[in-house]
């Protein structure tokens, strides 16, 4: 069971990222709990200034861009 966290205030990019993350879990054939972090203090506290940020199982994978579902699937299978 993986924990995927999408960091962002809920703009269109964050929603695209969340959708990609869900697709990625299906592609990689793993179970994942996708959460959305919207509190700006927590977002900065986790090391992200340009949203959306993506954290998989506690490690920061990307920020300021929307990785494709394929990229996320690779990270999921590595983790």
């Amino acid at each position: 069971m993986h924990v995927i966290e999408v960091l962002g205030s809920g703009c269109s990019n964050c929603q695209r990222l969340e959708q990609n993350a869900r697709e990625a879990a299906v592609m990689a054939g793993v179970e994942a709990d996708v959460r959305h972090v919207t509190d700006p203090a927590e977002i900065v506290g986790r090391g992200v200034m340009s949203t959306p940020g993506l954290i998989i199982d506690g490690s920061l994978r990307s920020y300021g861009r929307v990785p494709s579902a394929g990229d996320i699937a690779v990270w999921l299978s590595e983790a």
Partner: protein
């Protein structure tokens, strides 16, 4: 991926070639469609309007697609973390100048405004310097700059950029001087961030950056194209039918209220730079003075009610109100300044 067999370099080259061919054929194509296919007279009002529309729609969409892709691609190499480290603990003037410059090359989507604001302050970037960035970034954005360059030439684009930087630096210096730190929401000062970016365990490849840029370009173009078409249609009507005298009388330097009125009109048009610039193009051709046009553009890109609502989360009302007032007054000053220069020069 469908194209996984084709190397990405080839895709980029092919796209660039297609772009160039399209760019050079839309002019003749629009003329041919208007005057040979459609039964319109060269020089007639309707003919002018239709030719303007048929030429401008593909031109603006091509510019938008090409340049937004290029900027998104280049931007992926500039990290906000590097920017804030460069800006931390700088003096007021050099800090504000650098911040405004960075603002031009690193636009952020307005949803990033709050984390950026907190992140900058947390790293020790002075409040005024942070504001210079916050003003320059949306105001001198790539879409506005590119469309100005493409439709009016480099002079207007550079004047726009220079006056945008002037407003940003001025606003930053002023807010820094006013010592408004206590009007930042208190929790902001408590945030202790992880060193941003250091934890990143993955660097995107060139190919991924190119792909990312293409996806976000599609996203942007899909969102703005209806506004572009509507804007150009209105521009075409102005181009063909509105008399020059009327534009000069209402928007000219003879009407002292024109600049503030255009600034107020620009606020609800936020985010519609792509749709508004064709209208401004037509108005400028009809004699709207440059200062009024610049002020209108700046109001559209820099004064955004949704962004102010978002920024309220980190600023107490007094700071937010000062910020809005200083930027609005700066824009009005740019408008009057250029109108005066233009009327004094002739």
């Amino acid at each position: 991926m469908r194209h996984s067999r084709v190397p990405w370099q080839l895709l980029v080259l092919g796209a660039a070639a297609a772009w160039l061919i399209a760019w050079f054929s839309i002019g003749p194509l629009a003329t041919w469609l208007t005057y040979d296919v459609l039964p319109l007279q060269q020089g007639s009002q309707l003919g002018d309007a239709v030719a303007f529309f048929l030429y401008d729609v593909p031109k603006v969409l091509l510019l938008l697609t090409g340049i937004v892709w290029l900027i998104s691609f280049l931007r992926s190499f500039v990290s906000p973390d590097r920017v804030r480290r460069t800006l931390a603990h700088r003096g007021a003037l050099p800090g504000a100048l650098a911040a405004a410059g960075f603002g031009v090359i690193t636009p952020f989507c307005s949803c990033s405004a709050v984390p950026l604001f907190i992140g900058f302050l947390e790293a020790g970037v002075p409040l005024g310097v942070t504001f210079a960035f916050l003003v320059a970034s949306p105001m001198v954005n790539e879409v506005a700059l590119v469309l100005l360059w493409g439709l009016f030439g480099p002079a207007v684009a550079l004047i726009y950029m220079a006056s945008g930087l002037l407003v940003a630096v001025g606003a930053g210096l002023l807010i820094g001087r006013l010592g408004m730190e206590r009007y930042v929401e208190d929790y902001v000062w408590q945030v202790r961030g992880a060193a941003s970016g250091t934890a990143l365990e993955f660097r995107p490849t060139i190919e991924q950056r190119a792909g990312d840029a293409w996806r976000s370009t599609l996203d942007i173009v899909r969102r703005v194209w209806p506004f572009v078409v509507i804007g150009i249609a209105i521009g075409a009507i102005i181009h063909g039918f509105v008399p020059t005298d009327a534009v000069v009388a209402v928007g000219g330097s003879g009407n002292p209220l024109a600049v503030p009125a255009l600034v107020i009109l620009g606020v609800p048009l936020y985010g519609n730079a792509a749709g508004t610039i064709p209208i401004i193009e037509a108005l400028l051709a009809k004699g709207l003075p440059l200062g009024s046009a610049l002020a209108f553009m700046m109001a559209i890109t820099a004064l955004s009610i949704p962004e102010f609502v978002i920024l309220r989360r980190v600023m107490k009302p007094r700071l937010l109100a000062s910020f809005i007032a200083i930027v609005a007054l700066g824009i009005v000053a740019v408008g009057y300044g250029f109108n005066l220069l233009a009327s004094g020069g002739s």
